[in-house]
């Protein structure tokens, strides 16, 4: 009973915090001047242009997902499961592009590959013209987005690889080489995790607007964006956002039809994961990973460092952003903690099918994840901005609501995949000796899913910290976060200060991650 109520409360909060604002927006979009009308939706797909945009979006998101998984799975395996030299450093490096706000990353690449960028300066204007042509358009957008989203796959790979029962690998190792074991045993066992990372990448890619717009590749989210920021038409903006949600739901259905749960494998020992020796391949793989790290990370971050290389820039950057930095860290920590709590309960619900509507809850969370932050943001305003609820709307609570609404799916899915690695009998064994839900929670489930919880917190922290869409819409006056501040300061601020702020952003993200790493070592 207690279990049922806990889960029901979690679902209820998901609905109130996340779904209600979107429903409010959706219902409003069906009315025009007080009458039911589908006019807002009629405007969608009235021209070929919109279909072209949708095609562009699907092409871009599909390509990004394909490439990140193709690169991320071997890369994640190399970093988490082999004796690759400097793997810790590489892991940190590869995570950086996720932390730098994507629009800053795009700018860094512009400084580098633009017509008068660093490359052009080194190799002449002809090369510059070529690199600029590469950067602006589909290839450049694809490239920058892959570098931003690759960390998602790497982080999740590392998380799930740690949870694989090594007995499975040992058994297979008796008759096969490591390459075959990884390919046939390890990777298939964590297939749900890989699919999850692909899903997250796809959703983030299809909803991204900043990078494609600054690199001139037109995508579907621009429709919703234009309705908001050029015409202030909330109805049309909501209508234009719904297709993104629908695409995501279609993918969810496909997932459920074709990706039935694999057999559960849990591990009973506390031994660290088996590290695969690379032997002869080591120098080659090390070079390959170094080259990737150089291209994806060292170049853009180097550009930012060079651009910001002056004490004055950092002085100024700190002077204008100290408060925002503290707020960012505070909000992101609390937000990540909320995501862990919700993710734990909803992930449990999804994986254990503990209530009849566990799939419905999952669909809601993923749908919200796919919606543009602006839509959820305006929805939150229209729902919570009343006299009675001013204590929520005019405080940081509204930002937390936004984080929970938008990123709940991350926590829920990471935790569900974690629970899939924990045998049901672990909890049942406690239940049968008379242990109630709360004690099972704290005595069995939480300790057994510790790694997943930490991963959820880290991922939640990063995503809350870098959030712009929702925070921008709902932050109470004077409560802005660093990404918001960077974004609003970008206009007409000196380049070096913006570059410095980007560097600060990376540092403040890593600081807590580093501390947490020390604690959980």
């Amino acid at each position: 009973m207690a279990r049922r109520y806990t889960l029901l409360i979690a679902v209820f909060l998901l609905i109130v915090i996340g779904l209600a604002p979107v429903i409010a927006m959706f219902v409003k979009s069906l009315f025009i001047d007080g009458k039911i009308s589908l006019a807002s939706y009629g405007m969608l797909f009235q021209s070929k242009r919109e279909w072209q945009l949708l095609f562009n979006s699907l092409l871009l998101a599909g390509s990004i997902t394909f490439i990140t998984v193709l690169l991320g799975v071997p890369l994640g395996t190399l970093l988490a499961k082999t004796d690759l030299p400097l793997k810790r450093l590489f892991t940190i490096l590869f995570v950086i592009p996720l932390i730098v706000p994507p629009y800053i990353l795009a700018i860094a690449w512009f400084y580098c590959l633009g017509r008068s960028g660093i490359v052009a300066g080194m190799f002449g204007p002809k090369i510059g013209a070529a690199t600029s042509q590469f950067l602006f358009g589909f290839p450049g957008t694809l490239f920058v987005m892959v570098s931003t989203l690759l960390p998602v796959v790497i982080i999740l790979m590392a998380t799930y690889l740690r949870m694989v029962n090594q007995k499975l690998e040992e058994a297979a190792k008796l008759s096969a080489g490591w390459l075959l074991v990884l390919k046939r045993i390890t990777i298939p066992v964590i297939a749900p995790g890989i699919f999850l990372s692909a899903l997250i990448v796809f959703i983030l890619a299809i909803g991204e607007f900043g990078v494609p717009s600054s690199l001139r590749f037109d995508v579907f989210p621009v429709e919703s964006f234009v309705q908001f920021s050029a015409f202030y038409n909330f109805n049309a903006a909501t209508a234009a956002a719904i297709p993104l949600g629908v695409i995501t739901l279609v993918i969810l259905i496909v997932e459920r039809l074709f990706l039935r749960k694999k057999t559960v494998q849990f591990k009973i020992t506390k031994e660290p994961i088996i590290i695969v020796p690379l032997k002869k391949a080591k120098p080659f793989l090390f070079t390959a990973v170094s080259i990737l790290a150089f291209i994806f990370v060292i170049v853009p971050v180097g550009v930012l460092l060079i651009k910001s290389f002056s004490l004055r820039a950092y002085n100024e950057a700190f002077a204008i952003s100290t408060n925002s930095i503290f707020r960012s860290l505070l909000y992101a920590s609390i937000g990540a903690t909320c995501l862990v709590i919700f993710g734990f309960l909803l992930g449990y619900l999804l994986e254990r099918k503990a209530l009849r509507f566990s799939y419905a809850a999952d669909s809601i969370a993923v749908f919200l994840f796919a919606l543009p932050g602006t839509v959820i943001g305006i929805g939150l305003i229209s729902l919570w901005n009343t006299h009675a609820t001013n204590f929520i709307y005019a405080s940081m609570v509204i930002i937390l609501f936004g984080y929970i609404a938008q990123y709940m799916a991350l926590g829920e899915r990471i935790m569900a995949a974690t629970f899939s690695q924990v045998s049901h009998s672990m909890e049942e064994a406690a239940q049968i000796v008379g242990v109630g839900w709360v004690r099972r929670l704290f005595g069995i489930l939480i300790p057994l899913t510790k790694r997943g919880l930490i991963a959820t917190w880290l991922v939640g922290f990063i995503f809350c910290l870098r959030d712009l869409g929702i925070t921008m819409m709902v932050y109470p006056p004077d409560h802005d976060t660093l990404p918001v501040r960077i974004f609003t300061l970008m206009a007409n601020s000196p380049e070096e200060v913006i570059a410095a702020l980007g560097v600060i952003m990376v540092v403040i993200t890593f600081l807590p991650l580093y501390l947490l790493g020390l604690v959980t070592r």
Binding site: F228, T374, I378, M396, N492
Partner: protein, 340 residues
């Protein structure tokens, strides 16, 4: 295990109390004012800090920028209509203020300070009042021949060499709207189509247009005077040209900042004080000397040498109200024109 349980309960309750205090802190105090700002934060924030220092009234701000086209302030003002959080809106151009007036979000306020400001930059009903302005100017790369009229956008000579910011956003929208009001729809549409036929490149913002010109990727672009002055002060070799200044010419569009008092704000008195401050000659002077190089609307205000006086500029004579009304009407055209 029990210890852990207890610790957990403690953490939860501390968190709860903490949240309560956090939300409690932001309850309305007497000595504060909430402002939403669409003028670049880098320029507006110092002005607001000065106001804070001078009056002791705490300024809480939400920023938004035209440059990066964030959707913050305007959308929030509209969405918050039923329970306004803001007392004042500082818009970067009058069109937005007119939209707010139409949507019933602002209320009139005739500031006593605004007397020196020419009446063409004020709403007759008091719904908005202009101060420091920007003008639409050409930035031109290189030393050779330069365009001197917006009609050069359609001139064969400049085929594929000109840039304009996306007319769906910001001051470029206002500029296109102004052309529609003074020329009439037919002529304006012809102009826009010919401009496109002449290979004009659409950039995401005026700032980006300027960067493209500075990097010599194109020959010229119509941008805001602050964008131009900013890069010239930075030592970049470009020229700034006010278009259509000849005798009998069209003139160029001048867009003031505007201050708007929001209906139903919690601190109307402080809001009025803040508006008075924004409209003061002091603020106009500061904005002229800041890197945004805004043009004071009052005649007597001191300016640095590279900022033109308002009297030296031949401006397009328009009624901003009419311009804003065009917005709804030509939206579909603009959307199609841009390719969005």
């Amino acid at each position: 295990m029990e210890y852990r349980n207890r610790a957990f309960i403690k953490i939860v309750s501390i968190g709860f109390i903490f949240l309560m205090t956090m939300s409690g802190c932001s309850q309305k105090g007497a000595k504060e004012v909430v402002i939403y700002v669409s003028t670049d934060q880098i320029f507006s924030e110092p002005i607001l800090r000065d106001f804070e220092k001078g009056t002791g009234i705490k300024v809480k701000a939400v920023y938004d920028t035209e440059e990066t086209k964030s959707t913050g302030a305007m959308n929030r003002l509209i969405a918050e209509k039923n329970n306004p959080q803001a007392d004042v809106y500082w818009a970067n151009e009058p069109i937005r203020a007119v939209i707010l007036k139409e949507k019933g979000i602002s209320i009139p306020y005739f500031s006593p300070i605004a007397e020196g400001i020419p009446s063409s930059f004020k709403d007759h009903g008091g719904y908005w009042t202009g101060f420091s302005a920007r003008a639409r100017v050409f930035v031109v790369s290189g030393e050779g021949e330069a365009p001197n009229s917006i009609l050069d956008y359609t001139n064969e000579k400049w085929r594929d060499k000109a840039v304009i910011a996306n007319p769906l956003f910001g001051t470029t929208t206002s500029w296109v709207l102004a052309l529609f009001t003074i020329w009439g729809d037919k002529e304006a549409k012809t102009f826009m189509k010919r401009m496109k036929a002449n290979g004009v490149k659409i950039s995401t913002s005026n700032g980006e247009s300027t960067t493209l010109i500075v990097n010599k990727e194109f020959a010229f672009s119509l941008v805001d005077s602050d964008d131009a002055t900013n890069v010239i002060r930075d030592g970049k070799s470009i020229r700034q040209i006010y278009p259509d200044q000849e005798e009998g010419g069209l003139g160029t569009l001048v867009l003031p900042n505007v201050a708007v008092l929001i209906k139903g704000g919690s601190n109307p008195e402080n809001g009025k004080k803040l508006i008075d401050y924004l409209l003061s000659p002091e603020t106009e002077r500061k904005l002229a000397f800041a890197d945004c190089a805004q043009i004071p609307l009052r005649r007597g205000v001191e300016t640095p040498p590279d900022v033109k006086k308002i009297g030296e500029i031949k401006a397009i004579r328009i009624n901003y109200e009419d311009v804003a009304k065009k917005l709804q009407e030509i939206q579909p055209f603009l959307k199609e024109w841009t390719g969005y």
